[in-house]
Amino acid sequence: MTEAPAAPAPALTTRRAPGCPFDPPPVTQELREQAPVTRVSLWNGSTAWLVTRHEEQVALLRDPRISADSRHSGYPTVSASFEATRAHNRTFITMDEPEHNAQRRRFTGDFTIKRMQALRPRIERIITDLLDAMEQAGPPADLVTDFALPLPSLVICELLGVPYEDHDFFQRCSAVMIDTRSAPEAALAASQELLDYLEKLVEFKAEQPGDDLLSRLAEQYLLTGESTVDECAKQARLLLIAGHETTANMIALGTCALLQHPDQLAAVRDGSPQRVAGAVEELLRYLTITHMGRRRVAVADIEVGGQLIRAGEAVICANDLANRDPEVFADPDRLDVDRAARAHLAFGSGPHQCLGQNLARIELQLAYPALLRRFPGLRLDRPLEELPFRTDMAVYGLHELPLSW
């Protein structure tokens, strides 16, 4: 067992090396070389245990002595804006068992593999329409605005029953909420504005239900008195934000990465559905857009990786590092769409593993090949090093991806 070092802990950062936008930050890569569990300091001067390897992360994320409850005083928030909104944003993702699974299971039936497979024709239609519009408008295009963001936004809107014409509004709120640089007051205001909107929408669904998730939520939980409108709206907000920010960034960043690896791009463009499904797992592993790590707090003493983590101490599982762990993925820094990548932690691990992962998979499995087949001459319109990567957003990716063909 090692004692906590006396020297100041290195500051945790999401800053990547120049020219290496797809690789974890050099600071954390270096920490992984040193120890499986190591001290880092956070934005507010507090410290946390950074867990750097795959094995210990999976063990901890599955461990009931680890809490996802952000109300704990030791919980490691990502910024002042997230610190300000954490009490305001309580949903099942920051609950522990048994409350967590009871709440999560309200939605797991909506996101089964069968249900997601049934959406396939509708997603294909949306993709075709968006690509048609891009083609008609002609190059250049911003892939984020024209394809990567509208695709998952349209899909999650239809699934939830949120009017897509309100997308400018909810995308703006969402962008402020997940920007670590937002002023706390601005993050709170955006969070409240979106909540107010969704409360009204859930109340409307209770009166005039449609064939969508929010109507079911209103009927089953609001009208029965099992949940308040505030609770329903918070869950709706979580699903709305998680449903579009993540896939949108995977589409843009994945396309950007494939454009740097023409042989891998060709495999995705021309591959069988099975090969493309494998490629999507590899892109999820390689890019790990959930780059702030999985954040937890110990609720009992836990010994892991030769380190004693004491009850109350903060824990950050750096899933971007786990996804580059050479013990699990040979030659981990190489993008290889044919590798067996399914053990990646891009969706996290433990009972909180992404609820919408099978929706994301299908969207990505359909989006990449359709885009690459439609525009075989696709190329970056700007050098890689000049692209606006989302270093300070809770979800990594690109603010903009200018392309021509």
Binding site: I113, G350, P351
Partner: protein, 63 residues
């Protein structure tokens, strides 16, 4: 190989169905794992082992 599942732990991620669709399914109403074959044939063992390893909730036990 004998498979046991813990329904209470299951978080409905569906990873087992992706890994071994002939052995695992999901309940329609809440996505909880349904075991189709508790003693699968040898050709399924590798896929089932992977399913147990990647199950986020560690809800699949093999004996």
């Amino acid at each position: 190989m004998r498979i046991t599942i813990d329904e209470d732990k299951c978080c409905g991620a569906g990873q087992c169905v992706l890994a071994a669709p002939e052995v695992f399914d999901q309940r329609d109403e809440d996505g909880v794992v349904v075991l189709l074959d508790a003693e699968p044939p040898a050709e399924q063992h590798a896929a089932v082992t992977e399913a147990a390893q990647i199950c986020p909730a560690a809800a699949i036990a093999l004996a």
